[in-house]
Symmetry: C2
Subunit: 247 residues, 2 copies
DNA sequence: CACGGCGTTCCACATTCCGGCATAAGACCT
DNA sequence: AGGTCTTATGCCGGAATGTGGAACGCCGTG
């Protein structure tokens, strides 16, 4: 359904660039003005957009988006299962713990967070997105997907964010094998500089990855000698969430 | 754009009934199975839905909504304009302050909240919805809409939630006139029992209501003698937000 | 005053989506 | 086990639906 897909794309673009005009969106997508215009009007009538008439008509996201809440926020089984183990892990390490889920193989989205109380700490807001190929949570998820889906993913370009980012598909596949072998993924400066993260996947009954838990901390507090210990703890937490989720 | 409108309807239905099956949705909409199925697959590919395979395929809202959510809040100029005046009002009264916007004349949606520090307090999460005809914020908005839109709204049934709910269109119109006269709306047990709220509208340059600010407090702390004072403060806060928003 | 940029509207064409039908796979009762 | 009901998924011809080029009207500018 072409028009539906495009409408949602436009909706997301409005969210990113609001308040935005028709012209800006046509340039962004390279679509005819009339098509974009019609889409905006339709989304507006449906209540998902708001027209903001000051000088020229600018479009903003409507309140409807807030009313449609993902299962993650409504106490879905996964969310509920994760809260306690995450808090426990935070108490053990006093480092920030994140729960992220894959979004249609395009990015990881942070759905929950338990903070540490250090003055210096990493910060990712709930709803923040990050690339699959350059984060620990992304690797944890990719490592447990069937080969065909990983191939499909690596078919696209792997953007680089720094010297450490893995941009070569073959190298990524090798890294994913290491992740499977030791049970957890490690990210050091692949995406955000100065941040280190260790992540393990939460799987459903069939072994399909649903999410990943990660401990993330500033470079300055990361002791390489403790990596195995951290990995064991994170893997244990992920296993506990998986177990609670299945019941 | 029929298919787009329908897709969004289905998306909203999934949000309300998740996790839901294709069959349940076809019954809900009276549409052919194949149509609903195709729509679900498309929304899934776009990342707005997730398939949850346990016994039968059940559908849930996907993580994509989380990525768009922050934009719905922070992006709007209204949000920024409201934060400080709301905090000021909370400091003055030490009661919880809410900012709500109308969603396509169907409900009010809470977009921001500043908490008081009483042990006993009212609680509405960001994203919570409530009926227009049974809340102070709803009345504040309705009172400043053109007569034609109010008529359109009252054409539907006004559901009752308790003895105090106004379910008669004529009575509602009279109440809206009182709201206009004194500048603020009052709600006492019309929707949620034991809760009292006083609200005033935020208008745009043309007098169209964009939102409403409300102070809401438990019955036990509401002193009828202070109503005029509370009303004056809430109205003042709304006026301040309106002024800041216009600049 | 003419011009250019912008948002909005119109309309004929053909692409896209609709929805009936058929198949397949479980689930549940007998 | 066998049979029946419900549910999920795939297919395909026809027609409604969405497409996008072009024209319109509005405003600020040179």
């Amino acid at each position: 359904m072409k028009s539906v897909t495009r409408s949602l794309r436009i909706l997301e673009a409005v969210a990113q660039h609001q308040p935005v005009t028709v012209g800006e969106l046509t340039k962004l997508f390279g679509l005819p003005k009339s098509t974009v215009q019609r889409t905006l009007v339709t989304l507006n009538e449906a209540g998902w957009l708001r027209a903001n008439r000051s000088d020229t008509t600018r479009w903003e996201i409507g309140a409807r988006v807030l009313a449609v809440r993902p299962a993650a926020l409504q106490g879905s089984s996964l969310f509920a299962a994760a809260r306690e183990p995450m808090t426990l892990l935070r108490d053990t390490l006093n480092e920030t713990i994140h729960l992220s889920v894959p979004d249609a193989l395009q990015c990881m989205v942070v759905v929950d967070r338990v903070d540490c109380d250090h003055a210096v700490r990493t910060y990712h807001a709930i709803g923040d997105t990050s690339p699959l190929h350059a984060t620990a949570t992304g690797h944890a998820v990719l490592a447990h997907l069937p080969k065909s889906e990983v191939d499909e993913f690596t078919a696209g370009t792997l953007e680089g964010y720094g010297a450490e980012t893995i941009t070569d598909p073959a190298e990524l596949r090798a890294e994913l094998q290491r992740v499977r072998d030791r049970g957890y993924a490690v990210n050091h400066n692949q995406y955000l500089q100065g941040v280190c993260a260790i992540a393990a996947p939460v799987l459903d009954g069939d072994g399909v990855p649903l999410a990943a838990v990660a401990v993330s901390l500033p470079d300055s507090r990361f002791e390489p000698g403790r990596l195995a210990e951290l990995g064991r703890l994170v893997t244990g937490t992920a296993a506990e969430i998986t177990a609670r989720h299945l019941r």
